[in-house]
Symmetry: C2
Subunit: 479 residues, 2 copies
């Protein structure tokens, strides 16, 4: 167990911060609620970004950039939107040495300014669909900040699309939900429940919000990405109209969808352990570290180092540039060198010392299980990719089994409260309540409706109101 | 000549804006001085970003992210820095519904907050060097905005490094200057003069500023990227100290270097013509467009389209995903389809109509020269990459020849003024003046010292003060 990390069982919040600190992933910034993402953490974001971006482009999207500053009057054009976001806004009142005529808000999200621009770009059905994504920073003032999970400024992507028909916009909303699900499960090894948000948990201004919900190792839920069907709400607020094929003017149908640096928090709280960060190979910026060692400096330089370099080169050809690194921290003891990469979550460590040289076999240590394997020099190109796939699969399976063993179905509020207090986790229940019922449940238990399940259309008696026709929902305490 | 573009000879500023509009590269945002970078423009930025980032990583740098908001007191810690930047700052005074105790500025550049963080991260010489780069948005309030060239918000990268010695920091400063030069010349086909800024044109807080200066087609200079040797100025202001190998505390030596979306303006004003945008193949997101055509819809679908797709696939295998596109805008006339891609600067157009089908030869049209070539279907993989290289080379040579034919050496102020008024362009002259002399020259002529040449260490009598020991400088009117 790492001395610089509080055990997870003892204090989950402190464990989380210790893991981040030990891996040098992030720091609080001098401005309250803001963070600095350090190179180890930022490399994970770059990996997320490039792989999500590839999936966005494969589904026909292009990137663009919209301005940071939004006139405060824009927010007010959509009633629910301003109500949801204005309490969290940072406001610029002075610029260029003068007081501004109209205060500007730093974007908390960009539906408004993008809606304004789309209304200028869209004239005819031929201009639709618009399929644009933006990678940027946003700001939502946060009184109880937590690195990666809740910070005043965070990095994200926000997709904004406009369509000629309701059906097409709804298809897009669900397509992007599936892009998130597959990315989270295949790349981040993050099993997620996909579902529809209840009325009380919807994005301000949306007709429907869809979500990917993951279970953290403290059994709380984390909303990992959302996709919103905005109907014609923003089109009406910003006058996005087009001439249809029959020459009639119609409002467009829009969607938006986003995922953020919060995903890094989800990775930590799903895979990390008491020794520190654990990264699934598919998202790990560094997938393998090769560690040449010898008490004899001459042998180290003349024999181990060139052999280690050969292995790095072979694996780099398979896994990509900068994905396999050579550790040359020779001023450190072997154990400290192991620990350095272990705490940064590198999925696989290959040790190359005297014993390994004489047996022509590397000592391979899995980060996820600490399992040790011997891989002969000749078999490296065959065995390492297989092993990485196995680690990826195993991290996903472990997380999925954890979620399943911590999900309980209930049929009454008493049962609901008992499970929540004694076991925690996800509670499955038929629900047909109003937003007021949602609020009452939250006040009584701190648990919220995470979503209505999309892959289960069964109906049942509401556990709370006892009304018939309840949809199957997941409730949980959430981040 | 394009009807939607004002001729360059008639009104250079309007021509510039028309080119941007015709290519749908950018728009002004609703907030004065800010811009929206549309997909065509943003794809160019993505191309710049990925290729510069690769060069930064190849020279040992990693990326990180520092906060958008900086306490206003931070700016004041370096006297020249606050003097230079505070008049351009946007100030946040309210956030989360409350008035802030200390106003926050939106970063105009990040030396201050990064210096503050480095002081926490650096203890020993073993923590050095720190070689970090950041891709982000910055804000400098702009009263006379111009798309890409001067906007209140812009996108850029800012490298920030800290070193144990003066020599190492100076090496880094010049290494990054060379990274910029080679990138600008090899990728953007932008010939640049590299040199050192005069005292009057230095970055606020720097000991030396180095620059890449390019000549636009209106003969004005554009500063395309800068690299700053900051000495120990910011280390002293933010207390970045480390224990050296002898156990003594020393201040670190820092550098910073940046290039921005302004580069897109430089590409336009170097390569575009009266028909619109012209992109050098190495930076062009789309390098080739293939245009299948036929008056017969059946033949178009059954014969031209599959043949065109084959060509796209072959070239994609060579040039990369999304680099070669198939135009299927069949509702448009052929001429309009040509023009659509021409105005977006696509370097090479391959036409495939009835004549081409029967001769098994594509009609290839170069964007830069309008030259037409026939390329047989079989030779596409051999000829197209060669042709793209030739276009790249030729754009660079043309720009370089233009700069050279518009550079004049002078030895007196009278000559200086005469050249500037009658010819414009770059003026080479030995200069040994003070910042006051620089100001006087600027007031009299609007021209500024762009830089002292780095590759020429000759000395001569100052054209202005007539003092000996002048260094060879370039003067020009500048953007
Ligand atoms: Zn005031
Ligand atoms: Zn106030």
């Amino acid at each position: 167990m790492a001395r610089n990390i509080t055990p997870r069982e003892k204090d989950y919040s402190q464990w989380y911060l210790d893991v981040i600190k030990a891996a040098e992933m992030a720091d609080y910034a001098p401005v309250r609620g803001c963070m600095v993402i350090r190179p180890t953490g930022y490399a994970i974001w770059e990996s997320i970004q490039s792989q999500l971006d590839e999936r966005f482009k494969a589904t026909g999207h292009v990137n663009a950039y919209f301005p940071l500053l939004i006139p405060s009057s824009f927010l007010e054009k959509e009633a629910k939107h301003v109500e949801g976001f204005s309490p969290e806004c940072a406001v610029v009142t002075h610029a260029g040495g003068e007081e501004l005529e109209e205060p500007l808000v730093i974007r908390p999200t960009s539906e408004t300014v993008i809606g304004y621009m789309y209304s200028k770009w869209v004239q005819s059905w031929r201009d639709l669909p618009i399929l644009i994504n933006q990678w940027c920073n946003v700001l939502r003032w946060e009184k109880r900040p937590r690195l990666f999970l809740r910070t005043s400024e965070f990095l994200w992507q926000e997709g904004h699309t406009a369509h000629a028909t309701r059906e097409e916009a709804m298809e897009e909303t669900l397509r992007m939900l599936e892009v998130y699900r597959s990315f989270m499960e295949e790349v981040l090894a993050l099993p997620v429940v996909v579902g529809e948000k209840s009325e009380g948990e919807r994005f301000p201004g949306a007709e429907n919000t869809y979500t990917c919900e993951a279970m953290m190792t403290d059994k709380r839920a984390l909303q990992a990405g959302t996709s919103h069907f905005l109907g014609q709400n923003f089109a009406k607020a910003f006058d996005i109209k087009f001439q249809n094929r029959d020459g009639e003017l119609e409002y467009a149908w829009t969607t938006s969808w986003g995922a953020s640096t919060r995903l890094i928090g989800a990775i930590i709280m799903t895979h990390a352990d008491n020794d520190g960060l654990v990264l699934p190979p598919n998202v790990a910026p560094i997938k393998v570290v090769v560690i040449p060692m010898s008490p004899d400096q001459n042998r180290l330089q003349d024999i181990m180092l060139p052999e280690a370099q050969k292995i790095v080169d072979k694996l780099t050809a398979l896994l990509g540039r900068n994905r396999v690194i050579l550790d040359t921290q020779f001023h450190m003891r072997p154990g400290d060198r192991f620990f350095y990469h272990l705490q940064r979550g590198v999925p696989l460590r290959l040790e190359l010392g005297e014993a390994e040289m004489s047996s022509s076999c590397l000592r391979a240590v899995r980060r996820d299980t600490a399992e040790v394997l011997n891989i002969s020099f000749d078999a490296v190109e065959r065995e390492v990719p297989k092993l990485l796939d196995e680690i990826q699969r195993s991290l996903f399976e472990r997380a999925k089994a954890f979620r399943e063993s911590n999900t309980y179905q209930v049929s009454s509020f008493d049962e609901f409260k008992e499970v929540l207090n004694k076991k925690g986790g996800f509670i499955k229940a038929y629900f047909a309540g109003t937003p007021e019922d949602e609020r009452a449940i939250k006040e009584a238990t701190t648990a919220t409706v995470r979503c209505f399940l999309l892959d289960d259309s069964s109906e049942g008696t509401c556990f709370y109101t006892k009304k018939p026709g309840g949809r199957l929902a997941i409730f949980a305490k959430a981040y």
